[in-house]
């Protein structure tokens, strides 16, 4: 087994997953000495009836909760200031993010503010600039979001925050909250999880501990995403995907971002397709490039991708190729199952071919150390064309 000469790993996120997990929320709050949580969510969760389930979980607890259900898709600092005052004035002592993406980013940034002062938001932008633990912070996944929710990252109004203190204390994964909305939303979050986990497996920051989070994340996506897309009511599948979502974010926080992640971000930021879908398109192409450069970790990916039997029966020198082949097939199957909504190629996703050069330049600008601009361009061209 791969064991680096030195490694570090940190994941403060407690996972509570399964039937009626939300009902333990009052107890979990108590273990962190919190009694009055402030729930941050968006209209979508109200419409789906998810907020009622949370209210129900607190019904007999004797605790008071506050709910803000108006998180917009592009929240701003004005909102944080308002929420800051609400939090202080009403005496809240913990934050619960219900749902991913902007909801979680808002909750994380609000937590920086209420744990200190709103002015901290400027000083704390960057990596490692938050110096002490924040207020208790819970995350409740709803099978939508960016894939960063359990990670050490928050993105807000053009600022990036990175700190271990931004990782949730607890992720409460309840099957009542993780029923799929639509194929694309589910795919965005699941492919983000798959890519983050797979890139953790092949990254220089890899250790048995990153493997331990990435392995179940990859398996859950491979075993459940197609089923959930075909049958959004598949409760067990939804729960498994939400697990993958949370675990991949934890692994991702312990590695350097990989190439598929970075290129995906460049394309996503250019406004063409969601980051998760981009990463899903790019992943096998990136791995193929890395395999040709003798990245020996890729053959280990076959185990979570294909399971014990297929891994063992495949000769060691063929495992890498087979892993990549499985990912290409997965793209094809997802495209079919989603009725074309889940793009297999950048062409499917209607990314104009003439901007690839620009995208490669931008990705190179972020720096990665191991790929030059031509390398990026080659990956993008392959991902545009498809295999």
């Amino acid at each position: 087994m791969f064991l680096p000469e030195r490694y570090e790993f940190y994941c403060p996120v407690k996972i509570n997953s399964g039937n009626r997990a939300l009902d333990h929320l009052p107890f979990e709050l108590d273990t962190l000495n919190a009694k009055k949580p402030f729930v941050i969510t968006g209209k979508n969760s109200v419409e789906r009836g998810l907020v009622d389930i949370i209210i129900d979980a607190f019904k007999d607890s004797g605790l008071t909760i506050g709910i803000f259900d108006g998180t917009p898709s592009s929240p701003d600092l004005k909102l944080i200031r308002e929420l800051f005052h609400t939090y202080r004035d009403r005496g809240y002592d913990a934050i619960i993010a219900l749902g991913g993406g902007p909801v979680t980013d808002t909750a994380k940034v609000l937590n920086i503010a209420v744990s200190g002062e709103p002015e901290d938001l400027e000083q704390c932008a960057g990596d490692g600039l938050i110096k002490k633990p924040l207020k208790p912070f819970f995350f409740i996944p709803t099978l939508s979001g960016s894939g960063y929710e359990t990670s050490r990252y928050a993105f807000f109004e053009g600022r990036a925050y990175a700190s271990r203190f931004l990782m949730p204390d607890i992720a409460v994964i309840d099957p009542r909250m993780t029923v799929a909305e639509d194929a694309k939303t589910t795919a965005v979050i699941s492919l983000a999880a798959l890519t983050h986990a797979a890139e953790a497996y092949v990254s220089t920051g890899r250790s048995p501990l990153t493997d331990s989070y990435a392995y179940p994340a990859i398996q859950f996506v491979m075993e459940n995403l197609l089923n959930v897309i075909k049958n959004p009511q598949d409760k067990k599948g939804g729960l498994a995907l939400a697990n993958a979502h949370c675990l991949a974010g934890c692994a991702f926080s312990n590695i350097e971002a990989g190439i598929a992640h970075k290129l995906g971000k460049v394309i996503g930021d250019a406004g063409h397709i969601p980051h998760g879908i981009c990463m899903g398109i790019l992943l096998p192409h990136v791995l193929e490039t890395q395999l040709s450069e003798d990245n020996y970790h890729i053959s280990d990916l076959l185990l979570p991708l294909a399971g014990f039997d297929k891994y063992a029966e495949t000769g060691a020198d063929l495992r890498g190729e087979r892993a990549i082949g499985i990912l290409y097939n997965f793209q094809r199957d997802l495209f079919a199952a989603g009725g074309g909504a889940i793009a297999r190629t950048l062409r499917d996703a209607e990314v104009p071919k003439e901007i690839l050069q620009d995208l490669a330049k931008k990705a190179f600008g972020y720096g990665s150390g191991c790929v030059d601009m031509e390398g990026y361009l080659k990956i993008l061209e392959q991902a545009w064309e498809g295999r």
Binding site: M1, E5, S212, F220
Partner: protein, 415 residues
């Protein structure tokens, strides 16, 4: 991958591992806003020169507030209170526990006293009574076995009141665990063997137990893989740093796995034979592991069969017929015990009749086995075993494990 109806998993311990991981302690303490630690350890650890290694590695970065190297094997409340006074007198702001379970538990007890200004530790015993972070605690395991560097419990005895206080809280998890190959380089072969098998028993019981979950599974698989590839070699070549780091990593991974699932009858009987006959924990685990798996086989064969892959590798797994994999895992574990027996010159016992103390006196007289079986009935872990056991079942397993004979399959319950 199996996803249980409900599970919880939590390991908030930062793991820092490597051949020079100790050198990261000053930074780790600074991140925790501390810089004047009290080192807590026992005579065995300091006598082996390990505290010198730790002190050398960190003294450039920080001031050591105090070194207490006299935690007795049977530590208790009096020790905790005495060392808490030292902590305060010397103006310490954090704790570094270097050693095994007893040392780490003592440090946890000290931490409750100094963080909560507790004059009565009893007030904090029980589950999740602590409500806030304690002083920074760094754990440095020295045995590659117990996994106590990643557990959230502590047991402190009160010898005067004849009490055993149990503390369970996420705030008792060490903030950081340092896994450094130098801490186990001088372990004698027989202890390397026993502690390694202890770690294997944690991982295997976690993977085959009733409370398994995706994260405990993944940590267990990694641990088993590292042990399968390294334990016999590390026992043969004690100076091999890579093997030592692999085994120390495996022990931590196995500790994370079993403290987030549960363990079964191997631990039930291991605890009991430890308390009745004084058999060291790791030795008991090593002997009992194949018997526990044999007893439970009909309940766990699917997941047990999977373990052939991490334990023996892809080739062996692929060429072993599916329906023979589970029994092959058991056979392989027996073979590991046999090999360890050989490479330690017979010091690693395979059966209970072979367990001797320092003076060569047999530690488990056969007539004590009924006592052990009786004690086992009241051990909490029995509820998490896949198959039920009563007194006769325990005794049957103990007798077989004493003699070194496989279990009589006809006598195993099929509940």
């Amino acid at each position: 991958m199996d996803l249980p109806g409900y599970y919880e998993f939590c390991c908030r311990v930062k793991i820092i591992a490597g051949h020079d991981a100790l050198e990261k302690i000053p930074d780790a303490l600074a991140n925790l806003r501390a810089g004047r630690p009290m080192i807590v350890t026992d005579k065995g650890v300091s006598g082996a020169g390990l505290i010198n290694i730790v002190a050398d590695a960190i003294k450039g970065g920080i001031t050591i507030g105090a070194i207490a190297d006299d935690v007795p094997p049977d530590s208790d409340l009096r020790v905790v209170n005495r060392l808490a006074r030292v902590y305060r007198e010397k103006g310490c702001d954090s704790l570094i526990a270097v050693g095994g379970g007893s040392v780490i538990d003592t440090a946890k007890g000290i931490n409750i006293v100094v963080s909560e200004q507790a004059d009565d530790l009893m007030k904090f015993s029980g589950g999740h009574v602590l409500k806030r972070a304690l002083k920074p605690l760094i754990a440095i395991p020295t045995t590659a076995g117990t996994g106590s560097e990643v557990t959230l419990a502590a047991v402190i005895k009160d010898h005067e009141k004849h009490l055993k206080m149990l503390f369970v809280s996420y705030f008792l998890l060490p903030d950081v665990s340092i896994v450094d190959s130098r801490m186990t380089l001088t372990l004698p072969p027989a202890i390397t063997a026993a502690t390694g098998m202890d770690a294997l028993s944690h991982a295997v019981e976690a993977y085959t137990g009733l409370e398994k979950n995706p994260l405990s599974d993944a940590h267990a698989l990694a641990a088993i893989n590292l042990i399968g590839e390294n334990l016999v070699e590390a026992t043969k070549n004690p100076q091999d740093k890579e093997g030592r780091l692999a085994m120390a990593s495996a022990a931590t991974l196995a500790g994370i796995a079993f403290s987030n699932s549960m363990v079964g009858m191997v631990h039930t009987l291991g605890h009991s034979i430890g308390s009745v006959c004084g058999v060291p924990h790791g030795v008991g685990m090593a002997i009992l592991l194949p018997y526990g798996l044999e007893y439970n086989t009909h309940k766990i064969s699917r997941v047990l069969a999977e373990l052939l892959l991490p334990l023996a590798g892809a080739e062996v797994y692929a060429r072993t017929p599916k329906d023979q994999r589970a029994e092959n895992v058991i056979a392989l574990i027996r073979r590991m015990n046999q090999e360890l027996h050989e490479v330690t010159g017979g010091r690693h016992p395979r059966y209970f009749k072979e367990v001797v103390d320092r003076d060569g006196v047999q530690m488990v007289p056969k007539e004590k086995l009924p006592d052990v079986a009786k004690t086992a009935l009241s051990d909490g872990t029995v509820f998490y075993n896949p198959e039920d056991l009563d007194y006769d079942d325990f005794l049957m397993v103990l007798e077989a494990a004493w003699e070194g004979k496989p279990l009589d399959k006809k006598r195993i319950k099929k509940g």
